[in-house]
Symmetry: C2
Subunit: 358 residues, 2 copies
Amino acid sequence: MTDTDKAYAVIMAGGSGTRFWPLSRSDRPKQFLALGPDARSLLRATAERVWGLIPPERTFVVTSELLRDQVEKELPELPPAQILAEPVGRNTAPCIGWAATHVRRLAPDAVMTVLPADHHIGDTASYIETLRQGLEAATHGDYVTIGIRPTRAETGYGYIEVGSELDPGVFSARRFVEKPNRRRAEQFVASGRFLWNSGMFFFLASRILEAIEQHLPGLGEQLQRYDEAASTGDEAALVARTYGDLPAISIDHGIMEKVSPVSVVPGSFEWSDLGSWTSAWELSERDPDDNVLPEGGVSIDATGNYAWAPKGKTVALVGVADLVVVDSGDALLVIPRERAQDVREIVAALRARDTEEK
Amino acid sequence: MTDTDKAYAVIMAGGSGTRFWPLSRSDRPKQFLALGPDARSLLRATAERVWGLIPPERTFVVTSELLRDQVEKELPELPPAQILAEPVGRNTAPCIGWAATHVRRLAPDAVMTVLPADHHIGDTASYIETLRQGLEAATHGDYVTIGIRPTRAETGYGYIEVGSELDPGVFSARRFVEKPNRRRAEQFVASGRFLWNSGMFFFLASRILEAIEQHLPGLGEQLQRYDEAASTGDEAALVARTYGDLPAISIDHGIMEKVSPVSVVPGSFEWSDLGSWTSAWELSERDPDDNVLPEGGVSIDATGNYAWAPKGKTVALVGVADLVVVDSGDALLVIPRERAQDVREIVAALRARDTEEK
């Protein structure tokens, strides 16, 4: 068994996606919304889940300056010093590296898990067990990721090809594959050798920092300066001045595809990256007509719809099918469920217009 | 020419329809909404139109107690004593008869026009000319109505069969016909002898009261009591106590179908009774994709939709066609345009549920 007293959690909560417009906005992104089947925000649900294994005292959240106050409010259990606020987002490698410097200072031999704040996870007990296996594998020095057993030929996820079994429940990761087309996705699932790339990682804090120094030396040097500045109380000013100059690169491309050994722990829990309103509909509890309606909603001859509205508002759907209807209070979206990915077009159109008007 | 100094207008503004739910409510019915192509409420538009011929000093509005304050606010030009508030609606015959007692007291030889407050009229000059003709015909003692030249085989309206020409532009009305089925409506329109029943009437105040005494004697007696009580200042109390006991009957069935001579003045102006959201879409200015969107709205691959939302709210429609989307602030309706008549089902379902919950 892993000594989870040395385990730290790093929750990445800096995202600012537009796929849940009009509910998600730059100042209230997806991780602060309750898009899953329960009433908690995705961030809160992520934290409460991981706290089943790792306490708040050993949890860090990396977010943006804009969102720091909301994170504090959402997670009052968290020591405020453990909320790291990026002046600007630079993808996951700088974010994880920066958090690792904090973790390593507190515990030089710490093992850490890095978790996105905005995913849905269905079975907490199974998830916790998978986390435990991932931490255990990382304790030995591996770079570890969780791969989700695919339940369909999803083209919206990256895949990991699994190699031989290294330890019980831990496999070598042969390669990472970008989002495939339909035909390849079907082949992957049929082969039984591919898992969905969950974006959840485990490594020794010292180990990931060594890997960054080797493969992303510019980032490595800057992180070392942050670490030194932290000892003298100058970190905040240095970060504010220089974070924007860090390379914007993902941990997948920047590190995981270059290092070895990379291990993968297959997870069998229900999982979704909640990529669009369609996933929210899929994961929510639906009525016998396959509708998701806010409390007090009414439907007549309506099927397969997803509706969201502010508390207390009466939503009535008559004779419509497979629509997404989202009322955020200041904006209203109506779009077919199968086109939910196109929400970005709306955001782009609105931004273009706002720019024109200025 | 008619002496329009003796002409009075009576605007019927007591309706409480549900066909424009969720925008229309019992405390804010259709006549207070701006459903036509301009920004005025239908009531305000009705009053301003008729004031082109008959001034506010000779205009009465019959409404309900619930709506009296809103009428005063909407029509500040109107002497408050000329707002007659029914304790409860009893259809058009009591409403018109009661107003006629007030008109006759002010001017025993007055001719009056009775106009619904919640219709759309497109061409004011032509409308005013038709009103003038109607008043002229009524001055001679006829019961007069306006019939609209049909532009399509509408099954949602009643029809009037036209007989011989009595005076230039004034015809005898041979019969009133209830809403026909599609085949009959097509025959009516093809024959050239049928007009839409507009619900607008003209008669001498004394004449309509005589007709009520003859054909609806119970109502006639009660109206006479109101008239007498008015002279002694006791009308309000008497009305409050007895109005609910008046027979609920329309002027069409109760009087117009029984009296003679009934004349009809054909009107050629654009007219709609605004019976549903579909009519609102038809009458509104539409964009090149046939959408009606509130200011600031966005549409992508969307056609033939009607959207309404509170001022300042951004409405985005993507990939949807022929929908009615109405956001009243506290409720949201999505329904295909061709099913807009079914809005009543929603209201019934909500009322049933509210009753259950009590």
